[in-house]
Symmetry: C2
Amino acid sequence: MESDSLVQSAASVAPIAGDELKRRRFLQHAGGVLAGAMASAATGAFAQGESASPAAAQAQAGPEYPPGVPPWSKTPGKPISKHPYGMPSPFEKDVALDVRPTDKQYWSSSARSPLQDLDGIITPNGLFYQRHHGGVPAIDPAQHRLMIHGKVEKPWLFTMEDLRRFPSVSRIHFLECSGNPGYGVHGKTAAQANGLVSCAEWTGVPLKTVFEEIGVDTSAKWVVAEGADAAALTRSIPMEKCLDDALLVYSQNGERLRPEQGYPLRLLVPGFEGNMNVKWLRRLHVVDAPAYSREETSKYTDLQADGKARQFTFYMEAKSIITSPSGGQKIPKGVCEIRGIAWSGHGKISHVDVSVDGGRNWRRAELQLPVLTKALTRFRLLWEWDGKPAVIVSRATDETGYVQPSLEELVRLRSLNGTYHNNAMTPWRIAENGELTNAYA
Amino acid sequence: MESDSLVQSAASVAPIAGDELKRRRFLQHAGGVLAGAMASAATGAFAQGESASPAAAQAQAGPEYPPGVPPWSKTPGKPISKHPYGMPSPFEKDVALDVRPTDKQYWSSSARSPLQDLDGIITPNGLFYQRHHGGVPAIDPAQHRLMIHGKVEKPWLFTMEDLRRFPSVSRIHFLECSGNPGYGVHGKTAAQANGLVSCAEWTGVPLKTVFEEIGVDTSAKWVVAEGADAAALTRSIPMEKCLDDALLVYSQNGERLRPEQGYPLRLLVPGFEGNMNVKWLRRLHVVDAPAYSREETSKYTDLQADGKARQFTFYMEAKSIITSPSGGQKIPKGVCEIRGIAWSGHGKISHVDVSVDGGRNWRRAELQLPVLTKALTRFRLLWEWDGKPAVIVSRATDETGYVQPSLEELVRLRSLNGTYHNNAMTPWRIAENGELTNAYA
């Protein structure tokens, strides 16, 4: 990594690239696979890496199909399931949350979303990242209550049915743990490097609506949110955020929240660090001053070089990571679509630049539309890898003009004393044999 | 149902309602639940139906919590799972696909999405509707091939790795079986009434890109798509659609397609009837004329009153259904948010009107933004139920100006001879005790 070149101005960024690649023929390196009656192999520009692909190698040798008929076309498949909740194919069993085998225990622990295997911006509920402080409680929704009290006209106790009766909204937002990935952590895969981030469509009640109902004192400045888990995780939320876009959420991607995501109720404060989005929410205490709880004093503060800590650093700043190709993967020479995700707690992503030479030169990537505020944004850039060692890296800019920093830049600003809010770029090194590794590892 | 009033012009529709309800106090019917130190019950406007809610009834009796601490707050919960793919809470076990117990067999059968339990527009993969013609094949993706041949310059055989190397896009679109719900079917629940529709974020390759690569003859007018299932399900797709927004899809809601949805590859022709989106796609034959396959002649055609059949009726026309409250549910008197989904195979939903008097008068519902083309669109309308019998029904209009018909209107146009393309409104009757049933049942 050339750290200097990573901080060059946006003025040096080339216009959106890839059009010249799109105009060329992707299949130029090979004749038609079915040029007579029978197959030889798919070896176009997108399939030229025979050595990297066992399937392509087999195809090269002359596949049985067609005209050979595979077994699954010969007999009826599985009938409609008696257990009517679908699961992924057994062939995808390795696509799973990434759990560190070295953790001493798994009650206060985390599991990373397999970013390198995911497409689009929606994270399926089964693969949404997890971070728990006291394990996952098994809450009976009929017994669960949300208490709102303190500086309000009408302190209130809500059942889940009460809350579901309120006017609702649905919004697509990312969530990210502020410890994603920590400092000095240079994960081998995209999951290990930055997998404590995910994105879903959330449905619930605007907190503003509920607060208007129970009458919040105009003098109240903070709301202390408490979870019903054994950790009773407690965070202080500024009243301004509660009256802006905060939600009391009961559904995620259409269905009720999963236990790992706070079933039956969680707080959502879009763009704020993960653990402020309190799961298993049981209490909102409306007060004048923050609680200075464990999770906003000894933890989740940012120790600086001078020994002082930045506190209440709510916002997850702009970040991006290339998810394909990424660490642990191997690519063949030739055309390659670089794919990744970008996000910002401050709003929309305005653009993402990609470098294939470790930050010397940048090209603007295409963003998948629509770009939503405080949501994952998928970016893509066509590139032709010439087979020489390279370092690929992405850099996000959000609508406030904030530019994602390099790690060197971030450390210069904030030292290596901290644990949280590392939003630096993740460069991947490509070796001559096509294997990718974390450029910092 | 007053069929005449159902076809009145949009001019008689009242402006967006609900604002006056929002301004009133939702909690007006009850004192503060925590007005001293301890709880009594949540009995505001959204919680006034004590008899309908065992939880509320229990709260009424004086809940133990707070200050009583529930068991899940006292001991650590479940640690991070060793099987790192999440599942819904056991308390949600009844939220499942709806399978007809009366089907003679389950290889050529269907399972309905539980619309009455879902929020937002994304259907979670485990609850996406299913329709199979020869069971669900268990396909090894490394062995799977897509053959494209016929009127092309370079007939080709693609592996999954080849296809994943092509430039990709992600799009949110609905899918609906054209047999949803059939005629003479008046399901008791929203799932049974119209549950063969779902919506997801799909990722794959634009078919146009692949066709440009292999060089399609300008004379070619149709593409015959064939599945690798035992039914070898075969449908003819107009070339115009293939060069417009058709996709070769390998991912759904971030992860690889589920087996029930065509793993490892399906065709997506947004807005066209479900079975044209051929699952387990193994072949595209580029030709001059349609195949006149079983699924576009003896099946999936629309028999009219005169004995002639409408053929190649691709488009799923504008439709909507109220999902909450809906058949099988029970509501208390008072404020109620009417929620539902609308969609159109022709593009975006422009508006949805809701009637609470069986179609005499209509109010415009709020649409959840952003409204996406050929995607489910969530609508909502605040309403205060006075406890008298009522019939609630929704009516969608799409951006072409097409208005969803009443059943009477549709039958008048097309007779009851057909099986497919019933996009009529679904009215729900509310009895004095708050119970909802299908108004046609």
